[in-house]
């Protein structure tokens, strides 16, 4: 049995310790907002916060998250009111949407660590892939969210 703190709630799961956190979130806890895109820590679709830091949950064994604070897209705000979510809606960032949970989690962590990121800071932090090519708006929305935060 592994004890997790997910979105402020204690969850107990009976899984292999090496199972990646992503598949515990999606298939054991039903938190399907976090997405699978590559499984090798390259695309960022599976990004969640571990103690406030963005991590790629497809490549993090659940045992490494035991007892730590995990926040997923479902727990970022109760009502889509996080400044990043608001900027995302206002600037109409998403296209297919599949990468966007990960993008938003990565952007929220960036702004928490750096309240006024430059284009270069954004380029360095935002390595999540978006096949739809929404990068222009992701960049703009992070600036907008930083101003609003």
């Amino acid at each position: 049995m592994i004890r997790l703190d997910v979105n402020g709630r204690e969850r107990v799961v009976d899984v292999e310790p090496e199972m990646p956190l992503l598949w515990v979130l999606r298939d054991e806890l039903g938190l399907t907002g976090t997405k699978y895109g590559c499984g090798i820590a390259m695309c960022g679709a599976c990004t969640v916060h571990l103690n406030g830091v963005p991590v790629r949950s497809c490549s993090l064994p659940v045992s490494a998250a035991a007892g730590q604070k995990v926040v997923t897209i479902e727990g970022l705000s109760p009502d889509r009111s996080h400044p990043v979510q608001k900027a995302w809606i206002r600037l109409q960032v998403p296209q297919c949407g599949y990468c966007q949970s990960g993008q938003i989690m990565a952007a929220a962590a960036l702004i928490a660590a750096n309240p006024d990121p430059s284009d270069a800071d954004i380029a360095e932090a935002m390595t999540n892939l978006c096949r739809c090519g929404t990068y222009v708006r992701i960049r703009d929305a992070i600036h907008a969210a930083a101003r609003a935060a």
Binding site: C96, G97, C99, T127
Partner: protein
């Protein structure tokens, strides 16, 4: 194909291993467990005759199409032989583009449930009609008892329309568990090797120019596998792929003597419509070649095109618009270099200007992309701009980075580690010029892409004097900042 699933069957959470003639799947209570179990299944693939096919053999096969004498002619204007006989200058070049994968960020997936009442499918699809037809056919359930729930697709780009193999597979799995929904999720690796790829293409172009630098003759020979032959038979006519020849068959330039020849060279590699289809590589071939001609006769690339487009006001208007926006005709800012191209497609007119910097002679940094688009009408300008931004990322990604290779008859690439796609750090400023001229309705999802790749290739020539004729650009020795 033979397989051994002894280990997989005993693994935690595994409910079934299902095998057919050409695939094996593991059903489990958790996707990671299913995938771990699948990795233990030993499979002996039978590649058949395709097992000896690789990049080199495909290229050699396409090359036979360049020299064949018995190929159909897709378009013929004037007298090409006479134009070449009287030419003061002849320019000839060969261009190449590779197979590409869609790599939708969500690998293919579908969920199916079979009950006594019928079959129900949940799938992200670009085409509900082919999805429901495939579901009915695969399950043997009549259409009136087949339900397809169209889910948000995690990217389509042409991958999730005509092909429903993942839906059929999900149904085959669900048939083993009546009443229970079964969700099939391909791994990224499966998605990479079971794509429906943008065709490879080899094109030779020859141009005849007279003593005054006027373009009097043009001969284009395309050698490529046909998408239509595989999946869109309604677009196949007299041995000519009516989709694959676009950009050349409908080219707008007033060249009096013109011949387009099409040598179909089909391989076993499965093909699909990849966002913008022929308007991904054909505009690169055509518009970079025209840039070559302008330079060959010492003319400015915009000034060279303008009289040839005199009777095509819409093409001319978008070309002029990006030229003006980028400051064509005035020196580029220090360290920057410009390229330009124009291409109509899907009922719309678009042109692009690209500004780049080049570090150490080989490292390309795209600073600015400007696209002008005339789709007739614009209903929702912000959505059209989003498509232009998205199209810029696609076009740059394909030109700079993407390539599917074939070895032993199979796809070499496995994941984003060996099939890189454009990232935010590589994305330039994108400026949209919307100029709807009214009177018609053209597309906006694909047309913005067409001119960007060649504008980039032409900017690289302006910067380095090096002409890129093989995609992606790494084959010409360039890398991407």
């Amino acid at each position: 194909m033979r397989h051994d699933d002894t280990v997989a069957k005993g693994m935690r959470g595994v409910k079934a291993v299902v095998a057919t003639d050409d695939w094996v799947a593991v059903v489990a209570d958790n996707w990671w467990r299913a995938n771990q179990a699948l990795k233990t299944v030993k499979i002996d693939w039978d590649g058949g005759k395709a097992a000896s096919v690789d990049d080199a053999s495909i290229k050699a096969f396409l090359r036979t199409g360049l020299d064949a004498t018995d190929v159909p002619v897709a378009r013929k204007d004037g007298d090409v032989a006479a134009a070449f006989a009287g030419a003061a200058k002849i320019v000839e070049a060969e261009y190449w583009a590779p197979f590409l994968n869609h790599v939708t960020l969500e690998p293919q997936t579908a969920t199916a449930r079979i009950t006594a009442d019928g079959v129900e499918v949940w799938v992200g699809t670009q085409n509900g009609e082919t999805a429901i037809a495939a579901a009915s056919e695969a399950s043997g359930v009549p259409l009136d008892r087949t339900i397809v729930h169209k889910m948000h697709a995690g990217g389509g780009f042409g991958r999730r329309g005509l092909f429903n193999e993942y839906t059929k597979q999900a149904i085959a799995l669900a048939q083993k568990f009546p009443g229970t929904p079964v969700r099939l999720q391909w791994s990224r690796e499966e998605d990479m090797v079971q794509g429906r790829y943008r065709p490879v293409s080899l094109v030779r172009q020859r141009a005849a120019l007279d003593a005054d630098g006027r373009w009097i003759g043009w001969q284009v020979r395309q050698a490529e596998p046909s998408l239509a032959a595989g999946v869109l038979p309604q677009f196949l006519k007299d041995g000519i792929d009516q989709v694959g020849t676009r950009v050349f068959s409908d080219m707008p330039y007033a060249v009096p003597n013109y011949a387009l020849e099409y040598a179909m060279r089909n391989t076993h590699v499965l093909l699909g419509p990849w966002r913008a289809v022929a308007h991904t590589h054909n505009p690169f071939f055509r518009e970079c070649f025209i840039d070559e001609l302008a330079h060959a006769v010492g003319k400015d690339p915009v000034a060279f095109r303008r009289p040839l487009l005199a009777n095509k006001p819409k093409d001319l208007a978008v070309l002029d618009a990006v030229a003006k926006a980028v400051g064509w005709g005035t020196p580029a800012p220090q360290g920057l270099h410009r390229g330009i191209a124009v291409s109509d497609s899907y009922g719309s007119y678009s042109a692009a200007a690209v500004e780049i910097a080049v570090k150490d002679g080989t490292v390309i940094e795209v600073k600015r992309v400007i696209v002008a688009l005339d789709p007739g009408h614009v209903v929702h300008p912000d959505a059209v701009k989003a498509q232009i931004e998205s199209g810029a990322v696609w076009a740059l990604s394909a030109a700079m980075l993407e390539e599917i290779n074939i070895q032993g008859g199979a796809v070499v690439q496995r994941n984003f580690s060996d099939y890189p796609v454009l990232a935010l750090a590589q994305t330039p400023k994108v400026e949209s010029i919307l100029m709807p001229s009214g009177g018609f309705w053209g597309g906006v999802g694909e047309p913005p892409m067409a001119a960007i790749g060649p504008a980039l290739g032409n900017a690289i020539f302006a910067a380095t004097g090096k002409r890129v004729r093989t995609l992606p650009l790494k084959h010409a020795g360039f890398s991407y900042a």
